[in-house]
């Protein structure tokens, strides 16, 4: 029987995070954006909440729930500010990759300490904005006596220079076979990892984005993730990317909800022609369309999360495609509702518009291959 009712425990978490987002994250969004990073005290407070543990298995130090809980919590954090959320919530997408690809031994040895410390893992998949597929990957590995050596360069890495680890996708030198793809979990301070200059971005200025070069980086075989066949690699990578897409959807819904609420409230307070502007039809339509879009996008996200857990046909792409499209509408209409106030930085709606555009373009979201 379909249900949208969250259990009491998730509701408690949701409520706590909504309070945290509005009382702690929201007041810091502009300072963080201008500084280009989350204030360190706030970063620690968010890490301490341990949202990243919610959907990880208990045997590795997680809380044993699944992505259906994670999407609810990611939305709430993003309601406060998504720049800060993406900047600080940098563990779970990489951790999930270890969970999917790792052997039992790797999960114990690699995943457990990362979950415990909450250290970030920056995903280095894309190159030059190309699809994630062997023929477009130029980063290569060579193996010698159980040790691997990586050469290449990854572009637009979110969290570059800030995350404690990188998860790098590379192919075997000279092979375009999916089975020869590997994921390498590399500590950020490994010799040969070179982070390029920070790139200016359209939105999400709180996050560090840069290229990462791998100049003969040596990686021990214990930190190399692989699959038993081409199909298995494709399917597992698809699952990793689906997870990232669904979490991105949840974050976008959080921002959509924030900007929709903010502009709706503004429309009841701003008077024009002797009436609150919400009483004028052209504004009222935008306000109600925004609220409808937020609901629809949230439900598609939840459904994609449900299918992810169930192992049915993935709907992550569909959800992302819809959320990306409606997000732009909600974002620009919210700016429009604020009119002249919409484009000045006294209000957050202009930032959320840029953030939503950036989220829809974070490398990979629209670049990943079909799978399954």
């Amino acid at each position: 029987m379909p249900t949208f009712e969250l259990d009491e425990e998730i509701q408690d978490m949701q409520k706590m995070l909504r309070d945290f987002a509005t009382e702690m994250i929201r007041p810091a969004y502009r300072e963080a954006e201008h500084a280009g990073e989350t204030p360190s005290e706030l970063r620690e407070s968010i890490k301490e909440l341990s949202v990243h543990l919610v959907d990880m298995p208990e045997e590795y130090g997680g809380l044993g729930k699944d992505i259906r809980s994670a999407v609810v919590l990611e939305e709430e954090l993003s309601y406060g500010d998504v720049g800060i959320t993406v900047d600080v919530q940098d563990t779970s997408i990489g951790a999930n990759a270890i969970l999917i690809f790792g052997t039992d031994e790797q999960k114990t040895n690699l995943l457990t300490p990362i979950l415990e410390s909450g250290d970030g893992i920056a995903a280095c998949f894309s190159e030059k904005g190309n699809p994630v597929s062997p023929e477009f990957i130029e980063t290569t590995w060579r193996e010698k006596e159980g040790s691997y050596k990586l050469m290449g360069s990854k572009t637009f890495v979110v969290g570059a220079g800030r995350a404690k680890n990188y998860l790098v996708l590379a192919k075997k030198d000279g092979s375009n076979d999916w089975q020869d793809l590997r994921l390498f979990l590399i500590a950020a301070d490994t010799p040969g990892v070179v982070v390029g200059d920070r790139l200016g971005t359209l939105g999400l200025e709180t996050c560090a984005v840069a290229d990462v070069a791998l100049m003969g980086v040596k990686v021990d075989s214990s930190r190399v993730l692989s699959a038993e066949s081409s199909d298995a690699f494709k399917s597992k990578l698809g699952k990793v990317l689906d997870y990232a897409r669904i979490v991105t959807c949840a974050r976008m819904v959080g921002v959509m909800s924030a900007t929709s609420d903010y502009s709706a409230k503004y429309s009841t307070e701003r008077i024009a022609f002797d009436l609150p502007i919400s009483q004028h039809q052209s504004i009222a339509f935008m306000v109600s369309d925004n609220a409808t879009d937020v609901d629809a996008c949230r439900w598609m996200t939840w459904q994609a999360a449900h299918e992810y857990v169930r192992g049915g046909e993935s709907t992550a792409n569909r959800a992302l495609a819809h959320v990306v499209e409606r997000a732009q509408k909600v974002a620009t209409d919210s700016v429009q509702i604020l009119g002249g106030h919409g484009f000045i930085q006294d209000h957050p709606v202009e930032k959320w518009m840029r953030d939503l555009r950036a989220l829809s373009l974070i490398p990979g979201n629209d670049l990943f291959p079909e799978h399954g």
């Binding site: 408690d12 978490m13 706590m16 309070d19 945290f20 702690m24 809380l63 919590l73």
Partner: protein, 250 residues
């Protein structure tokens, strides 16, 4: 040091309050509840004490059966167990009736000190901490912002007109807290999950006869619209006159 924190679950401070049909209590329809904000400061102070000095924090609450959910938020902050004295008509009890029920229960609990919020934001009586201390024959310090524990004694700090007052109390005491330097912590996600499994002992609150009867609740009259007196220096003179003669505030 084991500390019992007495907490009340009160309507959220953001709730819009309406008087109920009885005329002596509020209409609970659609009202969200939470741990009384001053009690949250007391929980935070207690948690800091046990983190520094060892021991554990127990919550004691008298309230409606349905408020268990909100008491668990206090457990999620870090208290290890709770005792919930249930009474669905708790809001009809006067301060003495609440204090007597709490004090009787406290006699059967293990504790070194008892913390409270300085007032409950619903009834605003400020009386329970003093009454409990009197019933248990303990010293009390009220409206404290912090209380340090040193050399077997508490040093509580109170903001008074134009300065601060430092009160020293023996370890076995009652202290009520106001807003302190540290905001109450947000529970972490793992602690929210752990809170579900922490012991919460629920039992009917003993009946204690009221000594004060609330006869009527009324909402304050709506505030009249503001008035623009005029502009420039002339208006300042008129404004000062009105503030003195009409509003009688200067």
């Amino acid at each position: 040091m084991n500390i019992v924190v007495c907490v009340k679950v009160t309507p959220s401070t953001a709730a819009k309050i309406k008087v109920g049909a009885s005329g002596v209590s509020i209409d609970k329809q659609g009202v969200e509840y939470e741990i009384n904000p001053y009690d949250a400061f007391a929980i935070e102070a207690a948690l800091q004490h046990v983190e520094a000095n060892g021991g554990e924090v127990t919550l004691l609450s008298l309230g409606a059966e349905g408020s268990t959910k909100d008491i668990r938020n206090g457990l999620a902050m870090g208290a290890v167990k709770a005792v919930h004295l249930t009474d669905d008509n708790y809001e009809l009890r006067d301060s003495f009736s609440v204090a007597k029920a709490l004090a009787d229960e406290l006699k059967s609990l293990q504790w070194d000190a008892i913390f409270f919020g300085k007032q409950a934001v619903d009834s605003d009586n400020y009386q329970v901490p003093s009454m409990v201390s009197a019933l248990l024959e303990l010293p009390v310090a009220n409206v404290c912002s912090t209380a340090e524990f040193r050399d077997g004694k508490f040093r509580a700090i109170r903001a008074v007109e134009g300065g601060t007052e430092i009160v020293e109390l023996s370890a076995k005491c009652c202290i009520s807290f106001t807003k302190g330097p540290k905001e109450p912590r947000f529970p972490t996600i793992p602690n929210i999950m752990k809170a579900k499994k922490k012991p919460l002992d629920q039992k009917a609150a003993p009946a204690v006869e009221n000594r004060v009867k609330v006869t009527k609740l009324e909402l304050p009259p709506p505030r009249p619209a503001g008035r623009i007196v005029g502009e420039g220096p002339e208006a300042a003179k008129e404004l000062a006159r009105l503030l003195r003669e009409e509003a009688k505030v200067i």
